[in-house]
C-alpha cells in the first residue's frame, strides 16, 4: 500500500464526536489531549516551519492569543517538523519579527496526529499538513473544522468569531445567522410543533416568519 492510499484510508474527525486522542512531543514538553480538558482548544496544523505564509499566520495566531485565552481557549499548533526546528523558527520569528510565540507546537514527525485528524491531503502535498483548524470543546468533542489549502493563510477574525459563536450557542441554546458577530441578534431554534410555531409569534422575537425568529441576548 502506498503512503497516499494509506492516508486516504484514514477517516476524518466527525463533528460532535470525541476528538481523536494523542500524546505528543511539543515545544512545551509532552502533552496529551486530556491535558486540555475543561478548556476549549484550537488545534491547528501548518505545512512547514520557516515558510512565508506560515510565518505570517504564526504572527497573527500569536496576536490573537490573549483574546483566545479570555475565551478559556488554548492554541496547539502542529506540523511534521521536529521540536528543534520549531524552536529555531520560533526564535527566528521573535528575533526578526519581534513576536513571541507562547503556545505549544506539536512535532508530528511520524504523522501520527496528522493521520488521525486527516491533516495530510495528498493532492495538496504528500509530505506536509494542510492548514487545518479543529475547535475542540472542554469535553473533548470536535465542534468545528476548517481546511485551507497550502496557498491561503487563515483569517484570525473568523477563528475568534467561530469560538464566540460556539460558546454563545452552548450558553444560550441558540444559533447564529450568517456573518454573525458578538452583539448581533441570534437565531431562536425553530419550533418543533405547530403550537410552538403559533406561540412563537407572540413571544416578542423579531420574526420574519414562524421559522425565522431573531432575538438580542
Amino acid at each position: 500500500m502506498t503512503e497516499e492510499e494509506h492516508i486516504e484510508d484514514v477517516g476524518l474527525p466527525v463533528l460532535g464526536k470525541k476528538a481523536p486522542d494523542f500524546e505528543v512531543l511539543t515545544t512545551h514538553g509532552t502533552l496529551k489531549l486530556s491535558d486540555f480538558e475543561g478548556t476549549w482548544l484550537v488545534l491547528f496544523s501548518h505545512p512547514a516551519d520557516f515558510t512565508p505564509v506560515c510565518t505570517t499566520e504564526f504572527i497573527a495566531f500569536s496576536k490573537i492569543y490573549d483574546e483566545l485565552k479570555k475565551r478559556n481557549t488554548e492554541f496547539l499548533g502542529l506540523s511534521v517538523d521536529s521540536v528543534s526546528s520549531h524552536i529555531a523558527w520560533m526564535r527566528n520569528i521573535e528575533k526578526k519579527m519581534r513576536v513571541k510565540i507562547q503556545f505549544p507546537i506539536i512535532a508530528d514527525l511520524n504523522k501520527e496526529v496528522a493521520k488521525k485528524y486527516g491533516m495530510v491531503h495528498p493532492a495538496q502535498s504528500k509530505t506536509q499538513t494542510v492548514r487545518c483548524v479543529f475547535v475542540i470543546d472542554p469535553e473533548g468533542k470536535i465542534r468545528a473544522m476548517i481546511y485551507y489549502p497550502l496557498t491561503t493563510g487563515r483569517n484570525m477574525k473568523e477563528i475568534l468569531r467561530l469560538i464566540d459563536a460556539l460558546q454563545i450557542t452552548d450558553k444560550h441554546k441558540v444559533a447564529t445567522p450568517t456573518n454573525w458577530k458578538p452583539g448581533d441578534p441570534v437565531v431562536v431554534p425553530p419550533p418543533a410543533t405547530a403550537e410552538q410555531a403559533e406561540e412563537r409569534l407572540k413571544e416578542g422575537y423579531k420574526c420574519k416568519d414562524w421559522y425565522l425568529c431573531l432575538k438580542k441576548l
Binding site: 512545551h28 509532552t30 486530556s34 491535558d35 486540555f36 488554548e74
Partner: protein, 76 residues
C-alpha cells in the same frame, strides 16, 4: 514549558509547580491558580515531576515526595 530538564532537574516552571504544592495546592486546578500557569501546562508538568520522583499522586491529588521536599527546602 517542560517542568523537568533532560538532566532531571526541575526547570523554573517545574520549581513554580513544586512551590505551589508546598504552599498547599494539591489539585492541578489549584496549582494552576497558585502558580499562575495554564492548566494544560500544570497537568503535563505534574506528570513529568512525578516521573522524576519529585511529586506523588494519590487519587488525583498531588503532594511533594521526600525528594521534592528536600529540593524545595534547599532552594530556599
Amino acid at each position: 514549558m517542560p517542568c523537568v530538564s533532560p538532566d532531571g532537574k526541575p526547570t523554573s516552571s517545574g520549581m513554580a509547580v513544586l512551590k505551589a504544592l508546598k504552599d498547599g495546592a494539591s489539585t492541578p486546578k489549584g496549582v494552576s491558580s497558585v502558580a499562575n500557569k495554564a492548566l494544560f501546562r500544570v497537568r503535563s508538568g505534574l506528570r513529568e515531576l512525578e516521573k522524576a520522583g519529585l511529586v506523588k499522586e494519590i487519587d488525583g491529588n498531588y503532594k511533594l515526595s521526600e525528594q521534592g521536599k528536600r529540593l524545595i527546602s534547599s532552594a530556599g
